[in-house]
Amino acid sequence: MEEKNEKKGFFERLKSGLSKTRKLLMTDVDDIILGSKQIDQALFDELEERLIVADVGPSFTAELIESLREKVKRKELSSPEILRTALRETMRDILLKNEAPLVIPHDKIYTIMAVGVNGSGKTTTTGKMAHNFKEEGHQVTLVAADTFRAAAVEQLDLWAKRAGVKIVRQAENADPAAVVYDAMRIAREGKPEVIIVDTAGRLHTKTNLMEELKKMKRIMEREMPGAPDEVLLVLDATTGQNAIAQARMFQDAIGVTGLILTKLDGTSKGGVVVRIAKELGIPLRYIGVGEKIDDLQPFRAEAFVDALFETNH
């Protein structure tokens, strides 16, 4: 019963979070496709616009459209409805390959680093993760390694209180690597738990700041072999094609093991994530659909695409 409610809650939340996306992206596509009796240039043009406006990106859109055209030529797609299904399946398959919810073991210390550019929602997401993991029965400690942004430590501290978890912190402007070191020392002595390191936002182009991140990771590895278990890139769904550069450069610098797409409750479509999935193959972990503490949901390709393509409106 409990689980059923939760499930309903999840889909409802996901749907409502994506409703605008759906409306702007795919419902319109449905309208267009279902509205036209035959496959013609106007249909392809409209599809192209919809995909680009959803931040799927011009080259990738061209690729998708081209493959649809080929199939039409080979008479594999005979009607707009079948074309629609084909487009949907192509996008779903790409996402499905990368759908990988985080499974955290209960019998070991599990370390997570949250990284990303400024304002992508790292601290909020870290707070939400703490809440989720605690609900799953884990002990959780947050590590305030954003010692740069004014009051960031304070912000994380308030999230720790909301989620009812511990926090390791030092003064503002402390060396973030030192905070991480502290946290790892404390963790080593204790019981199995989840350690989430909230790092300062940094543009992926800032060499010195990326070096700082590498240093933090090195210290985690040194103090606890195998750490960090997870490096999560937090990406704002409003971001356009620069998201690719972000993902690639964080990937190259410290090795990203998962992606969290935040702010999906807005009007932005987050279409760039399909391109990231295809080009970089980064596992898709969570989506953020609001500001409440339980507004972080596992990424589900099927549900994501279902919500995108849903026709009853």
Binding site: A151, K263, G266
Partner: protein, 443 residues
Amino acid sequence: MFENLSDKLDVIFRKLKGKGRLDEENIQSALREIRIALLEADVNFRVVRDFIEEVKQRAVGQEVIESITPGQQVVKIVHERLIELMGTTTSQLRFGGRIPAPIMLVGLQGCGKTTTAVKLARHVAAGNKRVYLVSADVYRPAAMEQLKVMGEKIGAGIFDAAGLTDPVEICRLAVEEARRGGYEVIIVDTAGRLAIDAPMMEELKKIKSLIIPAEILFVADAMTGQDAVNVAGRFDELLGIDGVIMTKMDGDARGGAALSLRAVIGKPIKFAGAGEKIDALEVFHPERMASRILGMGDVLTLVEKAKEAVDLKQQKELEKKLRKNEFTLEDLRTQMNQISKMGPLEDVIGMLPGMKKIKALKEMKPDERELVRLGAIIDSMTPVERRNYLIIDGSRRKRIARGSGTTVQEVNTLLKNYVEMRKLMKRFTKGGIKSLRRGNFPF
């Protein structure tokens, strides 16, 4: 910023070069490439469509100018149109007649409002106005604390909203407080919100009708995708936006949103935020931005940065010394300090024209730590050594290496370079500093 777009246009126009004249066909292929580049840059789909149409109409049928190549001709047309799109003049802040003049910042979550509020306060304070800051963000944990900590650093007045939970009430009291305190400008930092969040937008409307801002500025992240126009359009519709501030311009986002916002909502972009330091807010210059998009470099900004960083008096003295060939290691140290004051070397190099074309430079990132090491070596010398390098013998070199945490080889290299530099300087008796400014460092 815009670096990749510049790269792309470079490639496109290289393809155009060598064609005899502009015709429908060769324009078409260039336009297709420009279209993709602009879309990759996140310029809004419709803005791109209009842009391409306009450029095409201007280009085709235009007389071919003998002196330039067709490629250059298209660059010129694209460049002009880009400037038109982003506005042809630099916009300043308007304060209106009331005191304190309220300036309100609005935007999505995480776009950089709070940082921008403080940078803007510093900008206003630099114009000799007393600035007051207030945060109306009662939602994000520690948002007020963030504004307070940063605001205190620049010495602005800050409203203490302790115990208050209503953003509208906070703004009302803050304006009163600012008036009492004799402040001339009050900057209101609001909570980030979605444009479709009706109650939250209603809250902004209430604040607006209460404080009647001289300016409502929309803060937009340069990395924003296609949706930028919808969000800004909605804010504009509900509130009436007077201008835009682009943030995070120091990244490699091509910043197409800047073009889109200007074209779609027709409001000027007033400032550009490019860095996490409190002084990294620049007045937005459309013509510079257009040049930058086209890979012509942002020379003017660089010159301004250099002007700020370089102490004129020191320069004159140095110039005198150079003429007499008295350039000491101490002077070298001064020069290095001034270079580091200009900001991260990567930023500086990115502004130079043509630099984007040199692929090798991308891999050869200027190492700022190298500068620090060189500085440390010079700092480890005695004043006498710095004034007369000839006395630095083997044992002195060893001591300097130890003192600076470097190696004797590094000390040797520095001295060798320094000597070469002196020789180089002998050659230009006049305008020596100017050449130095052009970056003719021997290392």
